[in-house]
Point group: C2
Chain length 292, copies 2
Amino acid sequence: MEVKTDIFLGDCKDILKDFPENSIDLIFTSPPYADQRKKTYGGIHPDTYVEWFLPASEQLLRVLKPTGTFILNIKEKVLNGERSTYVMELILAMRKQGWFWTEEFIWHKKNCYPGKWPNRFRDAWERLLQFNKDKKFHMYQEEVMVPMGDWAKTRLKKLSYTDQRRDESRVGSGFGKNISNWVKRENAYPTNVLHLATECNNKNHSAAFPEGLPEWFIKLFTKRGDTVLDPFMGSGTTNIVAQRLDRNSVGIEIVPEYFEMVKAQIEPSKLMLFDKREDYGNASIRRRYAVR
Amino acid sequence: MEVKTDIFLGDCKDILKDFPENSIDLIFTSPPYADQRKKTYGGIHPDTYVEWFLPASEQLLRVLKPTGTFILNIKEKVLNGERSTYVMELILAMRKQGWFWTEEFIWHKKNCYPGKWPNRFRDAWERLLQFNKDKKFHMYQEEVMVPMGDWAKTRLKKLSYTDQRRDESRVGSGFGKNISNWVKRENAYPTNVLHLATECNNKNHSAAFPEGLPEWFIKLFTKRGDTVLDPFMGSGTTNIVAQRLDRNSVGIEIVPEYFEMVKAQIEPSKLMLFDKREDYGNASIRRRYAVR
DNA sequence: GTTCCGCATGAATCGATAG
DNA sequence: ACTATCGATTCATGCGGAA
């Protein structure tokens, strides 16, 4: 399947205004956390984080399909010995904006950064907030099923040798015993807690998440040929994974260095480049490049 | 060490008014969640949950020592396909009340409730919100250190291998430098994610949370001889664990059946009973029993 | 004594049915 | 229309009895 990957340089709340509404199947993003990445993003103060984010989420609400999903990876930082409250305030504000706050997944970071403080342990988890436009949305649960616990193996022992053999011989016949029932016995639906290690080898971007994170949500909420958006592209992990999984994707990044880095990484035949050229005197002019 | 366990029958927001201020080292509790446990607690509607809880937390703020900690175990339910927001509203309201919201621990429930729904996975985590009166509080981190897990061992092998190849810059500053310390150390500080299964097969006291949960926080935030309070005692798990760990404890429970159940379980020589006898015509009269 | 196996039991949630 | 109740779905855990 041929998919395309479009990347834009600029501020997502502006860029997105030119997007048609109801056109995106999944938004997966990890915006700059408040006050966290001063060197790269200038740092948004916790007190102004909500008002900074709302114009972007307003556009995201517009471009998302009614059956689509928005996954927001975020975690509040510690300020003066206390957890900031801007994430909670953001959730409340986004609900007023029209979003449904469907669920909160936990990303358990199995190998979180070491360290020691007198009044706090290492932070080993982040929020993955699921927002929707509608109570009905697409969800392909079978795509992310996981092997059952060990107890299930003992259960399989109960079946006689001949039973197992006979069933294997019927694979694909579509007759007799339903193979999917076997699959159900060996696989279970996951929970809302994800166990993933952080990847420490991507040092070009200061807030990279592991590929397994967008992969899980892309499999869960989209099918091949759908379109994934990351409005705070960063190092482009979401887009790279989407491309690998045969999903179209759009990435928007405000920092030229990250934009160039992703441009160099995306497979050229699949890349569409959009560059906002304000020096042409008209902010609405976009130049579109088709590489190769 | 001789410790005592005081249990009260009544509403904690009333009972606590007779307690001296700054007298409790740790409050660990799991209040009735909104609309849950209707049969025993009547069920508090999500819309009125915050106003129901604040009078209790006001008293808790008063009786807690400045160096003490309040751990609140809670999780919002799903309402009309959406997570309720009353927990976030409660955090915001408690901060206005004077609490510091220091940290949020995650309890990962390894054996969460089964089930399948078209738009949602099983809920496998609950919040453990840490509140404090002051930015300085007692924390005995060494008491909850854990043996390094298998992942750490294998990771150390990898690190020692890559270390030879001078690969530490890849992992980030501060990590590679301390490798030798890691190898020597057998115990590691835990993170803010706790992995515990619920105890669902204990018929005598069907505890809402496993003993390991209060045990961890009692060890972390108190020392022997300190005083632990559970204002929503339920089946008394907090008090039973506190007693086993040589901590004084206070429990308050509004449902007579639970109160009687705990009374029968607490070791008699350590029990002090307080009974609110309203039939004596004066709600403020308390009768104190010393059993044995 | 160990190990193995059967089984009840959860701070759940949705959709249909009933008042 | 709106709320209350009920059945169906589903899986890790630890206890108790058996091998």
